[in-house]
């Protein structure tokens, strides 16, 4: 890395007078870009009409094939976050953000070449594999830096960045539609050009984040804040090495806490439009359902900041208790909203549920920091994101397959989601129990008591 000296962790240590409020925009530069992943579906239909233009020609890609681009991206997000977490932690945030920018932007450019050549394998390699690595690296890169800059409000700080991931889709969706319209002609779908523009925009934007980011000096403290002299019951002052964390029950309990919370939210997120129309036939139109989905995106995003900030006041464990208790009640209520025809109550239930879905993502880095300390929190967070990948399969499968099973067995469409809602409520009860069993990590896992050979160097 001698030619890339400016990426070294030492070069990013903030000088005196640097404001910590410069760091959240740096993190948002990354998360607002990689959040585009949630809006990738706007390209799905155009990608199936690259040859037929107005309709899908026999030689065009099928929608099921195109769906693999997103799936592969999320798989590589999880894999890179889990595998490269330690590299991110030890190399510093600028190197990780720089690499994420090149991977994510480069993935778009390679995908554009794949679209031009009408070769799906190149698109899968571009966005799915290389872009997916950018997604994972970008997702975890600012987490521990923000926690170190905001030891007094770690939940709020990480919540702000992870809110950006939710917000990224809100920007990417209209921007992508606009770009495709700009480059489309009667004989050409403007997907490749839109990919090139997005690749260049996102690379520049993410590189600005990499340039802005700083890590605090080791002895730096926020003005007027003194670190607690002793660890409290559920907030440690020690550090646990990244792979040692895997040997603790706390890691796996929090893994299930996240997995079950996400499973409950992600299934309805994908089915919200169809569900609202099927549960309230004649009352909710397709246009209104699209509005409902938009409102859910806003609550998903807002919940990330709101609940993570609340967790600084009431504690992480209590915040997850709120998610699980409130979520169980709300999911149990949903079937009765269908039975009574109360659209308003249905909407309110799901908006709160979606705020807690986002809140679960945003609160978990601070939960890990409380349990395992700040030294390897980003890397441990990376490992925990495998729970997201599992939930990404579990949630939609539960909602879609149980609905289909119900319909196949003669249940009216309006009631086809009832069993699923009760199952979701049940999953949240299990999540509640997992959260209940989370206790402080035993001292034997702390780095200064059991130092792995490679961690000793990092210290």
């Amino acid at each position: 890395m001698s030619g890339l000296w400016f990426l070294d962790r030492e070069r990013t240590i903030a000088g005196p007078g640097f404001s910590r409020w410069m760091v959240p925009p740096a993190a948002l530069c990354i998360h607002l870009c990689i959040g585009q992943a949630y809006a990738l579906s706007v390209f799905n239909l155009p990608l199936t009409k690259l040859i037929g233009i107005t309709h899908s020609a026999p030689a065009d890609w099928k929608l099921t094939d195109v769906g693999w681009i997103f799936t592969l991206g999320i798989v590589f997000l999880g894999a890179s976050a889990a595998l490269l977490g330690r590299w991110v932690e030890e190399g510093g945030p600028r190197r990780a953000m720089f690499t994420a920018a090149l991977c994510f932007g480069g993935g778009f450019l390679l995908s554009a070449a794949g679209v031009y050549a009408h070769n799906l394998a190149i698109v899968l390699l571009g966005y799915g594999v290389i872009g997916g690595f950018g997604l994972g690296l970008g997702y975890i890169s600012p987490v521990s830096t923000l926690i170190k800059w905001f030891p007094d409000r770690p939940g709020m700080a990480t919540g702000m960045a992870i809110m950006g991931f939710g917000g990224g889709a809100l920007i990417a969706s209209p921007l992508s539609v606009w770009l495709m319209a700009k480059f489309s002609t009667p004989t050409h779908v403007g997907v490749a050009e839109a990919f090139i523009c997005l690749g260049l925009i996102y690379t520049c934007f993410m590189l600005m984040g990499a340039a802005l980011v700083r890590v605090p000096a080791p002895d730096w403290r926020p003005l007027g804040w003194t670190p607690p002299a002793q660890a409290t019951k559920l907030v440690t002052t020690a550090n646990v090495y990244v792979y040692q964390a895997l040997r603790t029950p706390q890691f796996w309990l929090i893994w299930w806490v996240l997995c079950l919370n996400v499973t409950a939210g992600i299934g309805v997120l994908g089915q919200a439009s169809a569900m609202s129309q099927e549960m309230f036939p004649g009352k909710v139109t397709a246009v209104a359902a699209a509005g409902f989905v938009g409102l859910m995106s806003l609550f998903n995003m807002g919940g990330r900041f709101f609940w993570a900030s609340v967790s600084d006041l009431i504690g992480r464990k209590n915040t997850y208790f709120c998610f699980f208790i409130l979520g169980t009640i709300l999911y149990s209520l949903v079937p009765s909203t269908g039975a009574t025809g109360s659209v308003a109550l249905f909407v309110v239930c799901f908006l709160i549920i979606l705020s807690m879905y986002g809140g679960g993502f945003a609160t978990v880095p601070a939960y890990l920091k409380d349990m395992f300390g700040t030294r390897y929190v980003g890397a441990i967070h990376g490992l925990l994101l495998t729970a997201w990948s599992v939930a990404g399969v579990l949630g939609p499968v539960l909602v879609n397959y149980i609905r289909q099973y119900q319909i196949d067995h003669g249940v009216p469409k309006a009631q086809a989601y009832n069993i699923t809602m009760y199952i979701m409520a049940g999953l949240l009860v299990i999540g509640f129990l997992c959260n209940l069993f989370v206790k402080a990590v035993h001292e034997r896992h702390y780095m200064d008591r059991q130092v792995p050979e490679s961690a000793a160097l990092a210290k």
């Binding site: 640097f18 948002l28 809100l170 990417a172 246009v287």
Partner: protein, 40 residues
């Protein structure tokens, strides 16, 4: 060791937050506009 710097000026903060705040607000407003269809 900390790198020497001039410290952060308010204009730096304003620029940095505008850089992320303007596109973010654009996205939120666009989504809100779509979301209002629920109440029509």
């Amino acid at each position: 060791m900390a790198n020497p710097g001039q410290g952060t000026r308010p204009i730096h903060l304003l620029l940095a937050w505008s850089l992320v705040g303007i596109p973010f607000l654009f996205g939120v407003l666009q989504t809100l506009k779509n979301a209002l269809k629920l109440f029509q």
